[in-house]
């Protein structure tokens, strides 16, 4: 009866253990329409889309495709129904060429590489995509990989496209390019569903928005009739203030001086190439760049986790070049690092908060035995001051939510009253509220005259919170500018390796 809908979900429910990831979700989308699915992390967006693409089975509820109620039992069923999913973490075989990945699992006969290549290039022309079909995936940039994923879906003649957080890994320019492609698909009568938590993107690309909150579909509105504040309110459940503070702190002494810093990958490639910058106490330096442009290498070299190849690193005049993390700390440098991989590098998931505190301090204890009492007191202090939700100081922290885990990590690092604090993607995977709590914590450190390096992926946030922005591209610094003087487009150009001042001529 609802033949006008390309895809319709009625009352989808899915539970994982005791968590209701989806709780009676209704959603529908038409052909020739771009629907945005908006929600915070953990609101059930990805679960819902995985149900549509046959990866999960719903516990109850029904899925209708072109008006027919169907059971999608596997990804191949979904493909057969013309549903193509582009996952947030690409599902590509790294060692194979783009071509092999595109035909992988497709139902048609094996064809000659030359005719297949032409077919792929024709498809590219039709939608304005660019790709080298014979390039191996592991040699590709993130946006090239995404193009392969899109081609995979188009090659199978999918008419319903689902994209899970497609812009998370793209520069602003690449995002614009992607949106052009999506609009073209819409013109050709495809139904496009885009999952995102970025409000501005929703407004830019979609026709309608369905908002999820805590596993429930709370509203579906026409994009033209809404705005950022209203979307945020229904996403979070109450009015939120979306502006990020940038407290003005007088710039202090140089806390970190980096000169000609170069570091190499194991294969000899330069991960950092001739970096020069100075970080002052009381300053927040935002580091922007496409994923893999050297942010990780920068953090790990500065903290002594990996060895620099050449150059100088000096914390308040103390030369730390070539020193390990333990040696740097022995030199009396108060340096703290919040890595992006919280449970991998930062904390031990199966230990409680108290034991995780001990990881940083046990060396200063005397004798062979550890004294847990100070750690327990410290844990309690952090739980109290950062409002961490936990059953107790000994509850394994992997059971906590992402936001609480991040608070534990940040709390522990701040407890050492660092002079330099390096944070990598501190709000990745956190909901809006917790993200703002983290921003506040960082700003508070800045007021305490801590020098902060903030590696981030959301350029809007970086522009708002940082004093200066340093942009990395392919291991080089393409610009260090005052954040107030930059626009998002400037940063995007620098991320792509260009000098943003060139755009006037371009």
């Amino acid at each position: 009866m609802d033949a006008e809908y390309a895809i319709e979900c009625r009352g989808i429910t899915k539970t994982f253990g005791t968590v209701k990831a989806n709780d009676g979700i209704d959603l529908n989308a038409r052909f020739g329409e771009i629907l945005a699915l908006l929600g915070e992390n953990g609101s059930g967006k990805t679960t819902l889309m995985n149900i549509l693409s046959g990866i999960y089975h719903p516990d109850s509820g029904s899925v209708h495709v072109s008006g027919k109620a169907l059971h999608i039992n596997s990804p191949s069923d979904a493909i057969g129904l013309g549903i193509g999913m582009i996952h947030q973490h690409f599902k590509l075989v790294e060692i194979m060429s783009a071509m092999d990945n595109i035909i992988l699992g497709a139902k048609d006969k094996l064809q000659k590489p030359s005719s297949l290549k032409r077919k792929i290039l024709d498809l590219c022309d039709l939608y304005g995509l660019k790709i080298d079909p014979e390039k191996k995936i592991y040699q590709m940039s993130v946006s090239e990989r995404q193009t392969v994923e899109i081609l995979k879906v188009l090659y199978r003649n999918a008419r319903i496209l689902i994209l899970d957080e497609p812009t998370a890994v793209l520069t602003p320019q690449e995002t614009t390019g992607l949106f052009l492609i999506l609009r073209k698909m819409k013109e050709k009568g495809c139904c496009v569903i885009i999952i995102t938590h970025k409000l501005n993107e929703v407004l830019e690309i979609s026709d309608r928005v369905t908002i999820l909150r805590k596993g429930k579909s709370v509203a579906t509105v026409l994009t033209a009739e809404t705005n950022e504040a209203r979307l945020a309110e229904s996403m979070v459940g109450r009015a939120v203030n979306l502006s990020i503070k940038r407290p003005l702190v007088e710039r202090g002494k140089p806390a970190l001086e980096v000169k000609n810093l170069t570091s190499l990958e194991p294969d000899g490639r330069k991960s950092l190439s001739n970096l020069n910058f100075t970080l002052y106490s009381g300053e927040m330096l935002g580091v922007a760049g496409i994923a893999g442009s050297g942010q990780k290498a920068l953090c790990e070299t500065l903290t002594g986790l990996s060895k620099a190849h050449a150059g100088e690193i000096a914390y308040e005049g103390v030369n730390c070049m070539g020193k390990s993390a333990a040696e740097i700390s022995k030199l009396g440098v108060r340096l703290a690092f919040v890595p992006e991989d919280r449970l991998g590098m930062g904390l031990v998931g199966s230990m409680g908060i108290a034991d995780n505190m001990l990881l940083k301090t046990y060396k200063s204890g005397k004798g062979a035995f550890i004294n847990r009492k100070p750690a327990i007191r410290q844990a309690e202090r952090i739980i109290e001051s950062l409002d961490i939700q936990t059953p107790g100081v000994d509850a394994p922290i992997r059971m906590l939510s992402g936001g609480n885990i991040q608070k534990v990590l940040l709390g522990r690092e701040i407890e050492s009253r660092p002079k330099v604090l390096i944070v990598a993607y501190p709000v990745r995977g956190l909901d809006i509220n917790t993200s703002y709590a983290i921003y506040d914590l960082l700003n508070e450190q800045k007021r305490n005259k801590t020098a902060i390096i903030f590696c981030g992926e959301d350029i809007d946030v970086l522009l708002e919170i940082s004093d200066r922005i340093m942009v990395l591209s392919d291991g080089r610094i393409t610009g260090i500018e005052s954040a107030a003087s930059l626009t998002k487009e400037d940063v995007g150009l620098m991320m792509a390796g260009m000098d943003f001042r060139d755009k006037v001529q371009a």
């Binding site: 990866i55 191949s76 599902k91 092999d100 990945n101 035909i103």
Partner: protein
């Protein structure tokens, strides 16, 4: 010259059982399953192949039985690891212990029930499985000996390796299998049926290992039952997979190189190098260890172990 020719011939004969094991294991690992039960599957094949030859007196049935026994062992492994997601390493090791034990047990049982405490395969079977004698060709100088003088297993092994290479590299199903081995989630998302293809590869690979076992029990032991006839060949095969960089064609060469090491003691005159026999017995394993070290230094994405190898795939994992 003659001495050298007979060395070459002996090398190829010694390498053949390893070749079967290696190709079987490559097919397993390409589908993402590290099956350490090669030794066990070879032992099962050794036992079944020998007994079929002994009891039924038919060479073709002996080879078929060894394939089926290896495949049956592999099926146990596949059920446990693919369907029940058991740890691949543990299941593989268990399969080895089971296979070797079962084979020796059956052999002992048959021995105690045999006429004069020996089990001997009938002469006609041994003749059929013996060296070729093609009119004209086998009598050629040099070429006759090193190309046309072997038993049927040798040619079967090379054929199986070439077919396996073609299957993995050039066919559509082979592409799907490689994708599963590299990234089962990607294969699944592309609509490939992961579990059935894993089963197929594990079982067929196991069967191929089984034929290698039959070679050890029938040819190497000269048609007389001996316990532990496989005796570590399966482990060498597991290491050879790495040496061959997961390529069945390269496995042909690799197996013969290892075959050479295992028979060196008969061909290096004691007067030249006065090394004890035990040293030569150790050689293949020493080289295996060296190869594992060298292979771990080699750093090529495309010629290395499939990325998903050893990890069970569960679609709904979060």
């Amino acid at each position: 010259m003659d001495y050298f020719l007979s060395f070459i011939a002996a090398v190829i004969l010694a390498g053949t059982p390893i070749l079967f094991g290696t190709v079987g294991e490559i097919i397993n690992e390409k589908a993402g399953n590290l099956n350490l039960g090669v030794e066990g599957m070879m032992a099962l094949g050794a036992c079944a192949g020998f007994m079929a030859g002994y009891l039924l007196g038919n060479p073709a049935l002996a080879i078929a039985a060894s394939f089926l026994a290896g495949a049956a062992g592999a099926l146990i492994y596949a059920v446990l690891t693919v369907t029940f997601m058991a740890n691949q390493t543990v299941v593989g090791l268990t399969l080895t212990i089971f296979g070797v034990g079962f084979s020796n047990f059956t052999g002992e049982y048959m021995l105690t029930h045999s006429a004069n405490n020996t089990l001997k395969i009938p002469e006609n079977v041994m003749r059929a499985l013996g060296g070729l004698n093609i009119q004209g060709l086998s009598a050629l100088p040099i070429a006759g000996k090193i190309l046309f003088s072997y038993n049927i297993f040798v040619y079967l092994g090379i054929a199986v390796a070439i077919i396996a290479g073609y299957y993995l590299k050039r066919t559509k199903i082979g592409l799907s299998v490689r994708a599963i081995g590299e990234n089962p989630a990607a294969a699944d998302a592309a609509g490939i049926k992961v579990a059935p293809l894993k089963y197929l590869n594990i079982v067929v690979g196991g069967g191929i290992c089984g034929i290698g076992g039959a070679y050890a029990s029938i040819i190497t032991c000269g048609g007389v039952w001996m316990s532990n006839s496989v005796n570590g060949l399966g482990w060498i095969a597991v290491a050879l997979v790495i040496f061959a960089s997961w390529n069945p064609i390269k496995a042909i060469l690799g197996s013969y190189v290892f075959g050479a090491f295992s028979i060196l003691k008969y061909y290096v005159p004691k007067s030249y190098i006065p090394a004890p026999n035990a040293f030569y017995d150790m050689l293949p394993f020493l080289v295996t260890a060296l190869i594992l070290v060298i292979a771990s230094i080699r750093d090529s994405k495309e010629n290395s172990q499939p990325a998903g190898c050893g990890i069970n795939y569960f679609r709904e994992e979060r």
